[in-house]
Structures are given as structure tokens and as C-alpha cells.
């Protein structure tokens, strides 16, 4: 597919009208905007950072089904087959696997082109190491983290490094947790090269520091004496924000051993990298982005389009009015604000769409937080047709040109099924294609 960046057939880039408005700057919204611009659709985007800054960098496709059995699948595509058979309304059932693959390929290529290369096995999930020392099944793994997964698999001799002053990341913990699976793992705590007066270290600050070579040299000097024959060195995710590849390669050369990173407690550097990278892409394509703004109200114009009133979430004051032929609603769930839970029921606040949900609040959650069945409320959300259009109470598309994508969709529990990024990317792709077919036949 050839990117068609400038030649918009639609309205001019005056940010008062567009073909397609994407509501949400989470993974689903960002992916939708990028997919739409690849197709030459004149798009505008609105949203406040939400899930994306909490992202670990891992791109889950499909890992667990049925969740009650805790069955972890080696092959995510087989898992998708299984889940769409058992839950015919699952968002993955709305598009063929070939499209999901294509969506992922395009997305990963974009990431690579932007300097955030991913590694994945086409037909298998990988087990990645988390801060807690658990191994989580996922699909797409940032190259900087994939090396750890490989090192564990091949049992390389490894030194895990943590830092005085960095909370919530303990090399000893990782060593303890992984001891049985990874006997060649050792740990050490060192001081991070001087970055400022405060000892309370934040990963973002450390990552920014490592963008500079002198700090990498200092860090390598600290680490080298502890190597003790280690072939690879693991660290919290701090390998820069904009130049991760270079930082990583340089550190490896300076230390004299391979390096990899593990994402820290959210919000962490890997989420920030994706956000910065995607926003840069959007800007470079000249796409109007109303960052840190929300759509406060939606009206309908005479020719089937939408009028979006955009403004400050805090003051509720409207600063822009945007006309759009079509809208993709990628508002996320409760955290993102795409859904709102009142004391009596869950609503979709912007369009007033019906929300699929358990009949009463008593049934929203299980009494054990880790109940293997998962909390029923996490399957709640917006129901759609095969063209990703939200349904009204009668089961028909609520609006001809309104689409929904991402975590806001019903009949999926991405947190338990391990399909968060996958659903966002795949449904964003599906929604954009549906808009393209529908609005510009």
C-alpha cells in the first residue's frame, strides 16, 4: 500500500472540517488515524493520553481462552479461531484473519520505520519477562525486550541490573522469581550515573539521560566490573526515548555484552516512546491533532455528517468546532472515558449509544479480584455490526457513518484474554476500511 500523504481529495487542512474524525488517542485511535492516512483519507484526531502512556510496549494479539480455564495458547491465530467460535460477537469475529494479519504487518512496519522495531514469530506467542518476574504471553515485542525473551529461552548467562533510587524494579526479585527457569541469572544493584540532585530516580529521566553518550559510558563503566562472564545484561526500560536502537547498540558495545530491557511499572518509558513516535508520525503527515482535548458534544449536520464541539476536559469550554463526514469512536473504556459507570448503569456519554452490560451493578464484578472467570463488566461495551457501526436499541446501525474501535467494544475482555493491542489495531483497521467502503465507494 502506497502512502498518500498530501493529496487529500477532501476538505482543506483548516481543521474545521475533515472526512473522518477519530475520537481517542489511545492505541486504537492512533492506529485508526495512521491507517486512514495511508488510505489518503483526510482525518483529524482528538483525545487525551490514556491507555497509551500506560502501555508496556508489548502488543498482545490473543493469548488466553477460555479465560476461566486459564488456557494459554502458543499460536495466537488458533486462539482467535477458538474465541470467535465460542464468542461469535467477539470483535475479532468482525474481520477475516487475513485482515488482522495485514493490520499488524502495516502497524509493525510503521513502528519499524519510526525507529521502534518489533520482533515476533509469525505464528507463535512469546513469553516476555515483566517487572514482577512473571512471564506473560504476548505477540509483538519491542526488539529491546525480545532479547531478554531469547536469552531466557537459550539460557544465556545473564546479569540483571537495578539501581539505587529506582523504586518498583528489583533485580533480586527477578532473580528469585526466575531462578528455577534461569539458573544462569545473577543480580546487582548499582548507582545510576549522575543525573541530578534528587535520588528518587524516574525511568523517564534515566531514559533521557541515556540519550547522551557520556552517560552511557558512565553506566557501562559501572556495569562492567560486575559482568562475571555474563553474555547479556538486563535492565529496566531506560534505553532512551527517541533513539532506542542506537542507545541499545552503543550500550552493548561499551559493556561488551548484549543488553535488553524490561518495562517498569506503568506509566513507563515504552508507552511514552509509542506515544511520541505516533504523534510525530501524525504531525509529519499534517494531520490535525487536537491533543489534550476532548469532544464535549456531538451534533448532526444536514447531510448525514457530524459536528464535533471540542474543548478542555477540565473547564468544559468549547474551543473548536469540527465538521466530519464520518467518526470513529475509539474512546476506550472507563479509564479513557469512552464509557462511564454511574451508580445504576453504564453509559456511553458522547452519542448516548446503548451499552451491552450486566443487568445490575451487583453483577459487574466477582467477589475475588483474581476470579478466574474474569469480571462480567469487562465484557461490557458497544455492540457493532460487521461494518464496525455501533448498534441502536433495535439492533440497527445507530448512524450511517459512525464506527467504533478498540477497548470500548463489547464481548471482549482484553485484560484476561491478552488481546489489548490486537483488538485496538485490528478493529481500527476494520473500521477505517468500512468507512472507506461506505463513504467513498
Amino acid at each position: 500500500m502506497k502512502p498518500a500523504e498530501q493529496s487529500h481529495p477532501g476538505p482543506k487542512a483548516d481543521a474545521s472540517s475533515c472526512e473522518l474524525a477519530v475520537i481517542g488517542t489511545g492505541l486504537a485511535g492512533l492506529a485508526a488515524t495512521l491507517f486512514a492516512s495511508e488510505k489518503g483519507i483526510y482525518t483529524a484526531q482528538i483525545g487525551v493520553n490514556a491507555g497509551i502512556i500506560h502501555a508496556s510496549g508489548f502488543l498482545d494479539l490473543m493469548g488466553v481462552h477460555p479465560i476461566a480455564d486459564g488456557r494459554v495458547w502458543e499460536n495466537p491465530w488458533e486462539a482467535i479461531d477458538a474465541v470467535t467460535t465460542d464468542i461469535p460477537d467477539h470483535p475479532y469475529a468482525r474481520l477475516p484473519q487475513a485482515d488482522i494479519r495485514q493490520a499488524f504487518d502495516i502497524f509493525m512496519n510503521l513502528m519499524k520505520a519510526a525507529g521502534l522495531p518489533y520482533r515476533y514469530q509469525p505464528d507463535a506467542n512469546s513469553r516476555v519477562i515483566t517487572t514482577l518476574g512473571t512471564l506473560k504471553p504476548t505477540y509483538g515485542v519491542p526488539e529491546s525486550m525480545y532479547k531478554g525473551t531469547e536469552a531466557l529461552k537459550t539460557q544465556k548467562k545473564c546479569l540483571m541490573v537495578d539501581f539505587w533510587g529506582l523504586k518498583g524494579f528489583s533485580a533480586v526479585q527477578l532473580e528469585e522469581m526466575l531462578r528455577d527457569r534461569w539458573p544462569g541469572l545473577q543480580s546487582v544493584r548499582i548507582a545510576f550515573p549522575e543525573v541530578g540532585p534528587s535520588v528518587d530516580l524516574y525511568p523517564e529521566k534515566m531514559a533521557r539521560a541515556l540519550e547522551l553518550r557520556t552517560h552511557r559510558e558512565d553506566l557501562a563503566r559501572e556495569i562492567r566490573p560486575h559482568l562475571n562472564g555474563a553474555e547479556i545484561v538486563g535492565m529496566p526500560a531506560i534505553f532512551g526515548i527517541y533513539h532506542t536502537r542506537e542507545v541499545m547498540a552503543d550500550l552493548a558495545a561499551l559493556i561488551g555484552a548484549d543488553v535488553f530491557e524490561i518495562p517498569t511499572i506503568p506509566p513507563a518509558v515504552p508507552g511514552l516512546r509509542i506515544k511520541e513516535m505516533m504523534e510525530a508520525q501524525i504531525q509529519s503527515k499534517g494531520i490535525p491533532l487536537f491533543a489534550q482535548k476532548r469532544v464535549l458534544q456531538v451534533n448532526h449536520d444536514n447531510d448525514g455528517g457530524f459536528v464535533l464541539d471540542i474543548g478542555e476536559p477540565a473547564t468544559q469550554s468549547i474551543s473548536h468546532r469540527l465538521h466530519a463526514q464520518g467518526v470513529i469512536l475509539a474512546g476506550g473504556r472507563f479509564l479513557g472515558g469512552g464509557l462511564y459507570a454511574g451508580r445504576k448503569k453504564i453509559v456511553e456519554p458522547l452519542f448516548g449509544l446503548p451499552v451491552f452490560q450486566p443487568p445490575e451493578r451487583t453483577q459487574w464484578h466477582c467477589s475475588q479480584v483474581f476470579d478466574p472467570r474474569g469480571h462480567p463488566v469487562n465484557m461490557a461495551g458497544i455492540e457493532i455490526d460487521d461494518a464496525f457501526r455501533p448498534l441502536d436499541d433495535s439492533g440497527k446501525p445507530a448512524w450511517k457513518n459512525l464506527y467504533a474501535a478498540g477497548a470500548i467494544l463489547a464481548h471482549q475482555d482484553w485484560m484476561r484474554m491478552k488481546c489489548g493491542a490486537g483488538i485496538s489495531i485490528a478493529t481500527a483497521y476494520g473500521a477505517v476500511n468500512a468507512f472507506a467502503m461506505n463513504a467513498r465507494p
Binding site: 508496556s56 508489548f58 494459554v72 517487572t131 512473571t134 511499572i265 459507570a341 467477589s367 484476561r416
Partner: protein, 522 residues
Amino acid sequence: MGLIESNSLKTQVLIIGGGATGTGVARDLALRGVNCILVEKKDINAGASGANHGLLHSGARYVSNDPESAKKCMDENRILKQMAPDCIEDTGGFFAAVQGDDERFVADFPTYCEKAGLPCTPMDIKDAREQEPALSEKTIAAYAVEDASIDPFKLVLENITHAQQLGCQFFRNTKVTGVKKSGRQIKAVELLDKDSGKAFCIETEMVVNATGAWAGQVAGLVGADIDVIYSKGTLLITHNRMTHRVINRLRPPSDADILVPGGTVSILGTTSARMKTLEDIRPTVEEVDYIVDEGAVMLPALETKRYIRAYSGVRPLVGTGSQGNDRSVSRSFDLIDHAEDDIDNFVTITGGKLTTFRLMAEKTADLVCDRLGVSTPCQTRTTSMLSHHETQWAVPGFSSRMWLEHHDPDDLLLCECEMVPQSAIEEILASFHVFEKEADLNGISKRSRVGKGGCQGAFCSIRIAAFLYDRGVISANEGIDNIRDFLNARWKGQQCLLWDMPMAAAELQEAMHCGLFGLELR
């Protein structure tokens, strides 16, 4: 008969139950120089003492139906304000009636107070609403009383810490499973160390059963019979403090008619529902909705308020014949001498109130000392509660105040919501050594504000677990078990009030702990 193993421990008095009453008895006895051991099956404040309203009653609530309790409350209220000022915020209280409330009761209230000897000052309604703007526009009467807010966590920690300093031993996670008797005497109490799974014995001259709602179960182990009815009450914590004073609804005691301020929050409650068992006591969605709806009649802002937690406790009602309304039963306490059950060295102290815990401890200790032939009189009327540094971390706002005033540049905030630093966790860990037991996240949260702030444990649990690994306190995959147990314990009080912002917070927690870490997969 060789009943007692040679390696068993020995004491004069064995106290069962680490709530306000048990720890109060321990301190009272220790102050009289009596040697004692306190055993608790979970941890301090595991029962009603950790799940109550925190109201230091003036007594006014009981003037209409239980004047004897009212009087006792008033006396103890005044003693505790003198002896334990660090545990009490002397807020004062209002009784307020709204349109539709029983006007006869409103009119009789001052007379009831006068009869019980309780001060109560009628308020001009305009003044009352100026002083407490949260009161409904429909307020029709208001009286000022001597209510106050008491911090039960600190109170119990002070009791046990003081008792320990005076030589009392405390075993947590140690459950009474039976006794060894000879004739009319208990010779030893059989215990289970729940951490190691080991059974052991303590030889003792007297046994005090201070197990609150469990008093019947424990008495049963000894072969004595107490008829205990369980009455569950549920409470809600608001996100921020709503009033300066305690606000009571001026009507015969009923549901959801008291709001008690405590530090930066307010606590709304309560309900009463008879329960068949003590297993899995937790607040429900229905109770929460009912409390909010009822409370909003007196304080309308409660309708839209954010709530951060709910919890439930159980009141033991001993040997009542009355049906249905558990509030009409006397809340004066039950001190039972089991000589009538043919056991000479076993006493039960249950019922009562947090407000009267000191008096309950005094009467119990008097009886015990009488049996032991100890003539030293009670000291707790006149001996101040010490304020121990390590107990302060449980007090809302203390940790953040300390941190903002001064902190070591090397120190780190492990709990960012409530500002609990690494050094505080160190201090709490050190206090665990007294029990010769390892600390865990739940134990640390009992002794600090950890997990009680905005994140409700989602983030601080990870930081503290990492710290516990670094310190070698936990190993292998214990950290994961710790986090799971801790989040599950917090969940108990969250699950029923997940709407509005807390719903988003719950989603973030699930995204992190399940979506990212996969903690539900085992």
C-alpha cells in the same frame, strides 16, 4: 497425666483476641504487673476493632433506649479524651433532624439527655448549617453533643505496644484450637501457628476470651456455652472529609444515620443485618446503595460523593431474647465468669463498644486479679497512653506530614498516595521482629497507610514487594502471593462501590495486574 509438654510456654494470663478489648486487657494487666500473653488468630484489629465507625460516643445515641450505656459512654468518653488524646480528634457532634423525622422524638431528646445526665445544647438551625454546610436545607432541629472521632487502629497499636514494653508477649497469626483441662481448671491452651503450621501449647493460670463475635466459638472449645447472635454493619469512606463534627440523625437509632469525620475522610454508616456465620463478611452493592440513599437525606452531598472504600464488621449480641431490631439490645458489655459452666479459670468479655473498651478491660482485669490474688488496682484511669513512634504510621496524614516537614535525601516514597517512605516500612519491619514472624504486605498495611490512598494498593504493592525482596524478607515467588493476597483483601472493600472514578481505577489495576503481569494465570 503428662498433659503438658515440657517445651510449652508458661504465663499467668492468656488473653485471646487482638482487638481493642484484648489489647486493653493486656495493657491493664501488664500495668498491674501481671504476666500475660496475647494470642490473635490473624493480626491486630482483624475483628470489629478494625471495622467500626470510629465514633467516640458521647452517649447521646443511647439516651432513648439504653440510658445505662449512655452514661458509661459519657464517662469513658471523658476519660479517653484525657488519657489517649493522640488517638482522638475532639470534633464535637451534632444531632440533626430533617423534615419528616419523628417530631415527638425530636422534642423528647433533650429530656432523655437530661435524665441520663448528658450535656446537650440546642442549636439555632441557621448557626448549625453555617457551621456544617453539608447539612440538608430541610434540617428542622439540631443539638450539639460531646461526640468525638477516635482512631481505633492507633488505639489498639498503642495498647499492644505499651503492653509489650511492660513484658506482655504477643503472638499474631496464632489461633486457639482447644484447651487441656483437668477438672474445673484449664491447664493449657492449644494453639496453631498459622505461618509454620505447627501446633503448640501455653500453660496458664487464667484464660481471658476477648474474641468479640467469635466469643461463642472460643467458649465452645472450652466446653462453655454462650449464645451469640451476629449483627453485621457496613460502612462507607468518602473520598474527602465532609464535616467538621460527627453528624448523627436525630431519630431513634437506625441505618445510615451517622457520619464520622476521621482525618481527611468521613465515614458513613451503618446497617445491621443478622448473619448466620462469620465467614466471608463483606459489604454488598445493595448495602452501599441503601446507605448512600439514606445518608443523603440528612447530608445531600452524599448522593454524588466519591467513596473510596466500604467495609463491614460484626457486633456480637449475647444471649438476647429480643427479635429483629438489634439496636434495642443493651450495648453495655458482657463479662461472663464461666465458673457457672464448671470452669474456674475462664472468663469471657464481649459485646460493648470501642468507647467502653477501657472499662471493659478494667472490669475483666479486676476479676482476673481477684482470682490470681493480685491486689494492685487498675491504673488505666489515670495512666496516659504513650504515643509510640512506630504506631504513628497508621494515622492518616502523619506520614505525609513527616515527609513534607523533613526527610532524608536517600529516603524513597514507596506509597506515593499516602506518602509512606521506605524508612517507615523499615521501622514497621523492625517492629515485626518482636513477633518473631516475617512481615507481609497485609501486615505492613495494618500498621501503615499503605494501600489506603487513591491507588488502593495497585501501585504501592509492587514497590513494597520489590523492597521486601531487596531486604531478603521474602523470596522465590512469595512476592506474587503477597500482592495477590493484598489486592484481594483491598478488593473486599472496593468491589461494591465501583462506579464513577473508582471504576476507572479498578480498570487500571486490572489492566496492570492481569493485562500486563498476568497475575490471574497460575
